[in-house]
């Protein structure tokens, strides 16, 4: 093969280091605000307290895996209510469809943790090592003198501290935060907590500090999926080549009248966190962070040209503008049948979840007839059926439950371990109770094959009632 082929190119390429330049503008400000909000939510949420009474944790957001409870402010979710989580996932999926079809990779550009933390790491890098040119010089400097070592070490330590705080914040969601912090510091926390922090510290440090755009390009599946959800009306970041080209620096030179608006200053390339040239067109690497828009608008203002050489645009706009027509307004791009449909579906699921949340009862019951044996004959000939009844008390305090039977006047009910048909269920607990239903000798249900019955469970402290339909097996069974 080597005989017939010219020099084979390398199969592997090293990462090209990227040194994004500082930029200011409306999109940069928006990104600062979103960064502050998202990081604030992530780091502070576990520390919010929420009083739920003496028997329940007072952490506002708590994923209590050991006890299989999820607490979210006033909402408490039990494992059997996992459909709420499923519903939220459906909403997240539809939300992604909506935002992607309307505004492309807006999730990637503004709110993805990878983007937010990389942005934070670049900010720290800039504080310590200086802006693009200073960092470039430091990078190209072969010799590790005292200054380079000092700057690099300072940067890495700062990154590590952020990474540690990030990994550390994660575990606070799963147990009482103040107690865990004390345990972590004194070395008494569970090994799982330390391992989790260690792993997340490592990934945050590596992904935010070094891997950065490589994660988006090579590791993340979202960009591929999102590409399938975009259409010709989707807003993405684009360059108005028909206005900018031919580009040229030398405005005073001969033939400069022929030149387009682009002065080839490379500002858009220098600020790009993924290291692409947006003037080559929309491409796989672009996370639509819009920093090139800010950079270009700044230059356009300085050279006295209209803003928007690089702008949020849809494919249809390019066709319209090339034909000399005005582009459609942003709102027309966003409000389309497709996005309206996504919004409607998203709202439908959301409303459904809220309704389900409000109509759910704080007590519930499951009834499992014991089939081994189906019935027991007592010494006086009474036919007895046994039921494993699970009484679920989702209140924060102990509740008295009374069990009654409807279906035939001869049937009576007894509870194992108590005489009065009443049982106390502790706070936030499911209790298994053996319940007996008795049919006297020669009564209709006793002689039948099976008899339909309804088991009522009443919280006698407030009159809440729930029921389950089940069957009574008679002697003919």
């Amino acid at each position: 093969m080597s005989d017939t082929q010219p020099d084979a190119p390398g199969l592997y390429a090293a990462r090209e280091p990227i040194f994004p330049k500082r930029v200011s503008g409306k999109f940069r400000n928006l990104k600062w605000i979103i960064m502050a909000i998202t990081l604030g939510i992530y780091y502070l949420t576990p520390w919010i307290r929420w009083d739920r009474g003496p028997n329940l944790p007072d952490q506002a957001v708590l994923i209590d895996l050991a006890n299989r409870r999820f607490f979210f402010f006033w909402i408490e979710i039990w494992p059997h209510e996992f459909y709420f989580i499923a519903g939220l996932l459906v909403m997240a999926g539809l939300g992604l469809f909506l935002f992607t079809s309307a505004m492309g990779r807006v999730w990637c550009g503004y709110t993805c943790p990878q983007t937010v933390w990389t942005d934070l790491f670049i900010l720290v890098e800039r504080w310590i090592e200086g802006d693009r040119n200073a960092r470039l010089r430091l990078h190209r400097q072969k010799k590790w003198d005292v200054r380079k070592v000092r700057l690099r070490l300072t940067k890495w330590i700062a990154w590590l501290l952020i990474a540690l705080a990030t990994g550390g914040a994660w575990v606070f969601y799963f147990t009482d935060a103040p107690g865990l912090l004390v345990d972590l510091v004194t070395g008494n926390a569970h090994p799982v907590a330390y391992t989790t922090i260690l792993i997340l510290t490592g990934t945050t440090f590596a992904f935010g500090g070094f891997a950065r755009e490589q994660i988006c390009i090579y590791a993340c599946p979202w960009p591929r999926i999102q590409a399938a959800m975009m259409d010709e009306d989707t807003l993405t970041v684009a360059y108005r080549s028909w206005r900018g080209e031919p580009r040229g620096k030398h405005r005073k030179a001969e033939g400069a009248e022929e030149l387009g608006d682009c002065i080839d200053c490379m500002a858009c390339v220098n600020v790009c966190p993924v290291g692409i040239d947006i003037r080559d067109g929309q491409q796989l690497e672009c996370i639509t962070c819009a920093l090139c828009i800010d950079a270009c608008d700044d230059i356009m203002e300085k050279v006295g040209k209209p803003r928007g050489l690089i702008d949020y645009m849809a494919l249809t706009d390019e066709v319209a503008e090339r034909a000399g027509n005005p582009p459609r307004s942003v709102w027309k791009h966003i409000f389309r049948p497709r996005t309206v449909l996504y919004t409607a579906l998203w709202s439908l699921v959301g409303v459904g979840l809220v309704v389900a949340l409000f109509i759910r009862s704080d007590i519930s019951v499951t009834v499992a007839p014991v089939r081994n044996p189906t019935f027991v004959t007592l010494s006086d000939g009474t036919i007895r059926n046994t039921y494993d009844v699970r009484l679920r008390n989702q209140h924060g305090e102990e509740r008295p439950f009374e069990i009654t039977i409807a279906g035939h006047p001869d049937l009576s009910v007894q509870l194992e371990g108590t005489d009065d048909g009443r049982v106390m269920v502790p706070a936030d607990t499911t209790q298994l109770q053996r319940v007996y239903v008795l049919a006297p000798p020669n009564s209709e249900p006793a002689e039948s094959e099976r008899w339909d019955i309804r088991m009522w469970v009443e919280d006698t402290s407030n009159g809440d009632r729930v029921y389950k339909d089940t069957i009574f097996n008679g002697r003919a069974n």
Binding site: P9, N372, S379, D380
Partner: protein, 294 residues
């Protein structure tokens, strides 16, 4: 979308060309290659650290000496050590207090269910419904009593076995086989006994009166004059709806003629620990027939 042909920029190709089709050069990132090498190194370490390479008769045991069998044994030992305080508490508790202590009762019922399925289900059935000759443990009829103490004693020492001198013991004479009663008398007493129970009416009501006399002389010493039985002697109540060996004419005649001799092995001593016996007694007690202490 990567590396689409662009107007102003030449895209590098690998130089390969087939019938005019060129291959663009989109090299993999080098760190990807390093991760690939790292996985190879990991795999080698893994086969050294853990059992991996097959030999003729066995495989390499691995530097860390790991085995799933040892891990299971370790897990079981860990589990048992964790249950130890609870078992000690159960073994020391007042027998009649177990049912009232919700924590102890919950533990005893769960543990007892496991003990039951291992040691008792063979005869009494997995649902404790019993079978012919093996008492149903869910009903309210007890040969030897249904309090926690009674059940505990029965489980510990068993019934009519030679292995435990403290075993509960009762023996009904084989009235027919040993010619203690004539065939006619047996027929009479069987009809009388059937008249006591609500299950089946006597086959020949005219024999009931004569049977009562036979009963009073031969049976009442154990089953008492009214036939309600005597738990101190393990003599069953003949007036209820429950028949261990069947309540029809043939079954009762068989019982009177040949007698019955059910045996239960003792579970105390080598087989079950005190905590396990108490656990299974608690489990049986809460099946629906448990009686309060007198």
């Amino acid at each position: 979308m990567a590396q689409q042909p662009k107007k102003k920029q030449d895209v590098e190709t690998t130089g390969h060309e087939w019938d005019g089709i060129e291959e663009y050069n989109n090299p993999l990132p080098r760190w990807w290659l390093w991760i690939f090498y790292a996985t190879i190194v990991w795999a080698i370490w893994y086969t050294i650290a853990y059992p991996a390479w097959p030999g003729i008769r066995s495989a390499t045991t691995g530097y860390l000496g790991f085995s799933t069998r040892a891990q299971v044994a370790e897990n079981i030992a860990e589990f048992e050590a964790r249950l130890e305080p609870m078992n000690a508490r159960l073994a020391a508790a007042d027998l009649n207090g177990i049912r009232g202590d919700s924590e102890l009762e919950g533990y005893a019922v769960s543990a007892g269910a496991a003990v039951y399925k291992t040691w008792c289900a063979q005869c009494h059935g997995s649902g404790a419904a019993g079978a012919k000759g093996y008492p149903n443990l869910q009903d309210d009829a007890w040969l030897w009593g249904g309090t926690m103490e009674d059940i505990h004693y029965t489980v510990s020492h068993g019934i009519r076995n030679e292995d435990d001198p403290d075993a509960r013991y009762s023996e009904m004479p084989a009235f027919g086989r040993d010619e203690l009663l004539t065939g006619e008398e047996v027929e009479q007493v069987v009809n009388y006994v059937m008249s006591l129970s609500p299950v089946n009416p006597p086959v020949d009501a005219s024999l009931v009166e004569a049977g009562a006399e036979v009963f009073e002389i031969n049976c009442a010493s154990c089953h008492l004059e009214d036939g309600t039985g005597d738990r101190f002697q393990g003599a069953p109540n003949l007036t209820d709806a429950i028949w261990l060996y069947g309540g029809d004419y043939d079954a009762i005649r068989e019982t009177v003629w040949n007698a019955r001799f059910g045996v239960m092995p003792p579970m105390g001593g080598a087989d079950l620990s005190e905590a396990e016996i108490r656990a299974v007694a608690t489990y049986v007690h809460q099946l629906g027939g448990g009686e309060a202490p007198e």
